[in-house]
Amino acid sequence: MPNLKYRLLLIGALLLASAWALFPRTVVERVKRNGVFVTDTVRRVPLKRGLDLQGGMHLTLEIDESKGTVANPSEALDRALTVVRNRIDELGVAEPVVQKVGDDRIIVELPGIDDPVRAQGVVERAAFLEFQITDETQALERSLPRLDAIAARLLPQAAARTASATAPGAPGAGAAAPTGLGGLLTPGADSARRDTTQVAAAAGSDSAPRDTARRAGDSAAVPSTNGAFSKAVQQGAGIPGQYFVAESDYLRLQPLVDSPEVQAAMPPGKVLRWGADTAVLGGQVYRSLYVLDSRPIITGEYLVDAKPTSDPVEGNAVQFTLSREGGRRFQNETSRHIKDNMAVVLDQRVITAPTIQSAIGVNGQITLGGGSLQEAQDLAIVLRAGALPVPLKVAETREIGASLGQDSIRKGVLAMVIAVLLVMTIMISYYRMSGALAVAALVTYGVYTLAVLAGFNAVLTLPGLAGFVLSIGIAVDANVLIFERIREELDRGKSVRLAIDEGFRHALSAIVDSSVATILTAAVLYQYGTGPVRGFAVTLIAGIAASLFTAIFVTRTFFMIWLSRSPRAQQALSI
């Protein structure tokens, strides 16, 4: 029977191909050895496990529009994608996924990561580096009344009161107001508002001699010592343009300082920036506040390399190299500002503000003070990968512990084994020998489905596993349809061989129609689903396609072999 031979050949070939697709193979990938990721070859079954099965972190990033609108979000996101991908690659994760989804979103999947906080920090950080000269013109003192007025308008009274209650220990201006601030604020703000016009006039003519401006500022500052800013801000030590703010006041003032309104109230060409670190003075925690020239002498875009270093004297630092052009500009600017202080500003936070001793060329160093070596490493990573072209924010995170993933696999596999056993028992006890043939076909079904999944590089997720278990139950449906049909044909007195032919033929339309309808639904699911649900849809489609093939081809072939081998079966079919 040549027909039978070709059928068997096809089934065998497909089984072989499936086995090859599923055979553990050597792949090169990043694996974790003693806590560090190294590139190595491992042998594994080429079925990718989703994050929910192996543990890891999923991040969805979108453009943070609270920091200004972006003209062309899709294009900006494309550039951001490259930056994020470079950073992730340097972070060292096994098989990361960095993908743009739609026009407004980047998804990042980091399997097996064990420090999600750090990973998120590296991904999310804008990494916009600027070098700015600190202010020497007392610009803050000049604008204090205006700042106080803004604070009085924007700060909620209750928040102001709690903050003042926690800050009475602050020396200097802060200590001047041990009483509740709520009552005092209103008159202070009133006078401040009156003064604002006065100062604006003085500061508006920036070409006016500096001391006139300062005098105007000083006189304006006097009546408003009770304003939120004047009360909190104190003169710093040594570095011009540096001030201190008690940590409790920082929490209250931080959003204010970062608001465009406050920045606009500064004299032209000056900006206010917070320091990145805190300092402890006399038992009180302080945060620095800097006034800087708004024009950076150079930005991170000229940076070509950055690497972390550790120095016993200076602590951890990042050494950077500028491009030739950047080096030239840096040299020029620094030579004009010798003995001035230059603030190193990362993402609008001042990291250090050292005094320029001599002109600096292409090589520089950012000292991190108390920062750990890992912080230096992370900073070097983000500086090397470049700044994000648009600010990104995390819209969604999902972290799954590795133990949960393993637990899910164990339970999923157990459920699968039991489901298969139950289905086998039902089929064999009801259909006897024919049922056994269907079960044999079911085994090929399982192998084909997994092979299709591996072939399409599909990711096996937990819902996908559930879909697979479920599809085993549904997969026998086609067999059941055929068997019932064969029984009916036998009832009508047809011969065994004819009944089998007719049974397969009549059951076909129902099998095809129901399979196609399900595949269409699954395709829609794939199109509109995300992550795990997509995995589920893929498993379902692969399962239905495999079940269609096994039911109408494999089972049929098994029947043909059985009939040709067993004369008894031709007389009375065991069905």
Binding site: V394, T397, G529, I575
Partner: protein, 328 residues
């Protein structure tokens, strides 16, 4: 030969009024519960917010746990998850959190608060999920689109393969399944996550599958041009496919029960919805799709060609298929 429900002659359609009342009552019960206790219990994927799943060394005191969590995440829901040592904390994103740290910081704050209370070794964070409001809204829309589009595509396919009366009856019966399942989810307070949405869609496919198999029989019987009302044809088709229905539902239910019992907490809502789906499919393909087909037939009768009940053009695509199958 072991046989169940062989050569049955049940008059299924006779009971359609009782069945209709039962299903309408169940749906109304579900809808009524919507009116009283609000919408279904959406997972944070849809509502946005933060979920932290914790595993404690010792079973914690729930009141103490709540006291530890409340300061950092006011109004957080604390629920036991599976075993006595596992809990989930579900917090809505507060207003000011959006400005400062974004959605994830709530999870970190909960973690810190618990570390202060139970010590870093006292518990383990198994899973954290944080979803921003925009993502949640988009997912809701995506799920709705998937359902509508899925139905529409099936409608077109069935109209092409059968005829429009069958397609409309099948799709309307699917709509009924959605309502019934929503009522079930609401009444049994199942949390609607993306996985459950996938289960609902699978259920719809499964139920459609069942309907198609009965309709396929009707299509075939109509082709034999018996002189009998459609009602009798439908009844016979249901009876003829009864052994198949029973057996297929049995195997599917077996697989679903294996999932409910062994696959763990994460998949349990999925498995429950699927288990319910087996019954929905059985019921709706007999008592919803069938009567609907009869009703449509009465309102828009097919052209009668000299006492022939079937429109001759309708089964043609299927007939072609049988020929190719026979030639193999």
């Amino acid at each position: 030969m072991l046989r169940i429900f062989h050569n049955t002659q049940f008059d299924f359609i006779r009971w359609w009024k009782t069945a209709a009342m039962a299903t309408i009552a169940f749906i109304l019960l579900g809808l009524g519960s919507f009116a009283i206790t609000g919408a279904v219990n959406y997972s944070i994927e849809f509502t946005s917010g933060t979920l932290v799943q914790l595993e404690f060394r010792q079973p914690p005191n729930v009141a103490e746990l709540r006291a530890a969590v409340t300061p950092v995440a006011p109004g957080a829901e604390i629920t036991q998850y599976g075993s006595a040592t596992e809990y989930t904390v579900r917090a809505q994103e507060s207003e000011q959190a959006g400005a400062g740290g974004g959605a994830e910081s709530v999870g970190r704050r909960i973690q810190q608060a618990l570390a202060a209370k139970y010590g870093a070794q006292g518990f383990r964070v198994v899973r954290t999920e944080a979803v921003g409001p925009r993502v949640g809204a988009e997912l809701r829309r995506g799920a709705a689109i998937a359902m509508l589009l899925g139905s529409l595509i099936t409608l077109v396919y069935l109209a092409f393969r059968f005829e429009w009366r069958f397609a409309v009856a099948a799709v309307l019966s699917t709509a009924h399944d959605v309502l019934l399942t929503m009522a079930f989810i609401k009444l049994f307070d199942i949390e609607v996550s993306l996985t459950v949405v996938a289960a609902i869609l699978t259920l719809l496919g499964y139920s459609m599958n069942d309907t198609i198999i009965i309709f396929d029989r009707v299509r075939e019987d109509l082709r034999q041009k018996r002189k009998e009302p459609l009602r009798d044809t439908l009844n016979r088709a249901i009876n003829e496919t009864l052994p198949r229905s029973v057996l297929t539902h049995a195997t599917t239910l077996a697989a679903t029960i294996a999932l409910i019992v062994f696959a763990g907490e994460v998949l349990r809502p999925f498995a429950w919805v699927m288990a319910f789906g087996v019954f929905v499919a059985t019921f709706s393909s007999i008592y919803v799709a069938g009567p609907l087909l009869l009703w449509i037939e009465r309102r828009y009768p097919r052209p009668q060609v000299a006492g022939v009940t079937a429109r001759p053009s309708a089964p043609r695509p299927a007939a072609r298929e049988t020929e190719t199958a026979g030639a193999r």
